[in-house]
Amino acid sequence: MTRFIVRRLIGMIAVLFAISVIVFLIFNVIPNSDPAARIAGKNADPALIARVSADLGLDQPLPVQYLTMMRQILTGQLMSYAKDRNVLEQIWDGLPATFSLCIGAGVLWMAVAVVFGYLSAVHAGRFTDRTLTILSLVGISMPVFWLAAVLLYLLTYKVQLFPTGSYVPLSRNPVEWAYHLVLPWITLAILYIGFYSRVLRSNMLDTMNEDFVRTARAKGLSERQVRIRHVLRNSMIPVVTLFGLDFGMVVGGAILTETVYNLDGVGLYAGEAIRSLDLPPLIGVTMFGAFFIVLLNTVVDIVYAVLDPRIRLGQAAAV
């Protein structure tokens, strides 16, 4: 177990290093991305641009610039070019909104997907299954930005059922917090509900043909016990894996949802940074997202070993 965690930590560092290098290089080959030129303003004379360049350290060779940036990240000193604000503080301030959005949406999509997938598999081929299949496909097909805009238009403007977004801290007013997040949660969850309920359905249909399910029936268990304890339990393993990966992705980049609903989380910050081609926040947010994806990957591997006892971490596979 210790060996497993150490190995994962080393892997995580390697991944983060690679990502930071790639983002840094991409930024430096994009045309018109020179921050000094933009900060100095239109019609600035070359001397001014050169001075801004020197201030930001952009006159140094690329490897030196990269190392400086990494040192700033590790010491929490990284400042954005455009607004001269501390990147890590900005990300930190965005965490409550981002986590509220992601955790709520994650709980919602898992809960609904399990119910839908279960019902779909149990009634496979019949009306319930067909209805849920169509709903799932519709959910998978709707782009997030479109869905968000439509929900916002229908439910806050046409029928004034929900507030137009923006984040209310949980500590200030839990009811308002949830009320403001209902639409973003639904928006973010729908795609995954469709996708996960499909995956769970097909897993369950496969598992129903397993010999141990027949054993469970032969033991005299009720059909409900067979389905929940034996079929559903064994079908959840791949779904949990997916959840870990997707949850990491969502934490690192619910940019569209946060932007449409004006939730000032990490995603909104990332969106702004992209629009203003501001390298320090971009690198910061990308590495933050990558960190969560790698972290959740590790968590998935650990949870996997709990769910499926045939997998044991850090030792040779038995049989």
């Binding site: 010999d211 054993t215 469970a216 033991k219 005299g220 059909e223 016990q225 045939r310 049989v319």
Partner: protein, 334 residues
Amino acid sequence: MSALLTVRDLRVGFRTDDGLVRAVDGVSFDVRAGEVLAIVGESGSGKSVTAQTITGLTRAPNATITGSVRYRGQELVDLDDAGLRAVRGEQIAMVFQDPMSSLNPVYRVGDQIVEMIRAHRDVSRAEARERAVELLRSVGIAQPESRIRDYPHQFSGGMRQRVMIAMALALEPAVLIADEPTTALDVTVQAQILRLLARLNRERDLAVIMITHDLGVVAELADRVLVMYAGQVVENGTLDDIFYRPQHPYTAGLLGSLTRLDEPRGRRLPQIPGQPPSLLTPPQGCRFAPRCAHRFDRCAELPELDDRGGTGHLDRCWLDSEHRQRLREPVVVS
């Protein structure tokens, strides 16, 4: 002694895209308390479907099941789910072919036995666990106190099959249906499992229905033998009847294709020519006729399963007693 389990004219059909598959087509037999009945046949002969239909495991939207299965006088074929659950495990327990896949890989074996006990008896988890330990010990698993906390993958194939048997015995059923219980195991382990089943049959007066295609297994254990071919019973007799006085050419063919120690080595094993018929479109008349070396005009008509010799040894064959004698002569293969 009256029969514990009576199966009469059991028919099981499955609707498929290609048509109706008549997997079991008019099967009848009795099982008495404490008796070992072997059901023998090749793959697709309907022996497993017959066994699984007894406890309703073949019930499915595309399945049609008719005929009668009576356990101590109670009809099981049209019994509702709740009634069937009370019979499963409690009265008639099952052990399946592949012990690798018949146990749920994500639960500890102890918990799987406990689950079975608690599905039928109102006992505490601790009591059920104690019973599980006892059961594992009775089927020859060492250190059962610690092994109940192990997962199925931590057991070898033979040990897993012992676990399956222990679980099947948890509620002291009167009938154990063992569906090819040794097929997936090494030969030495097979012998151990068979000896275990024989001991349980003797000690607990447990009736065993043994599904197998292995005549060696049959000889080891069975009191009576049912030979199945293409969804029908072609011969039903005592162990000695079947092995020494086969009355159906198919049975004779099966026996003839066994390797024997009393014959010269290097001899080519005789085989039954041809393939078993499709259950979608079984042949008119005797099902075995197209492969039978002894067929004659009457075989165009399907013979009933009958006691033709008046000895309680049933068969489905038109051959007269003189021809039957010849079935028992050694087959000469050029």
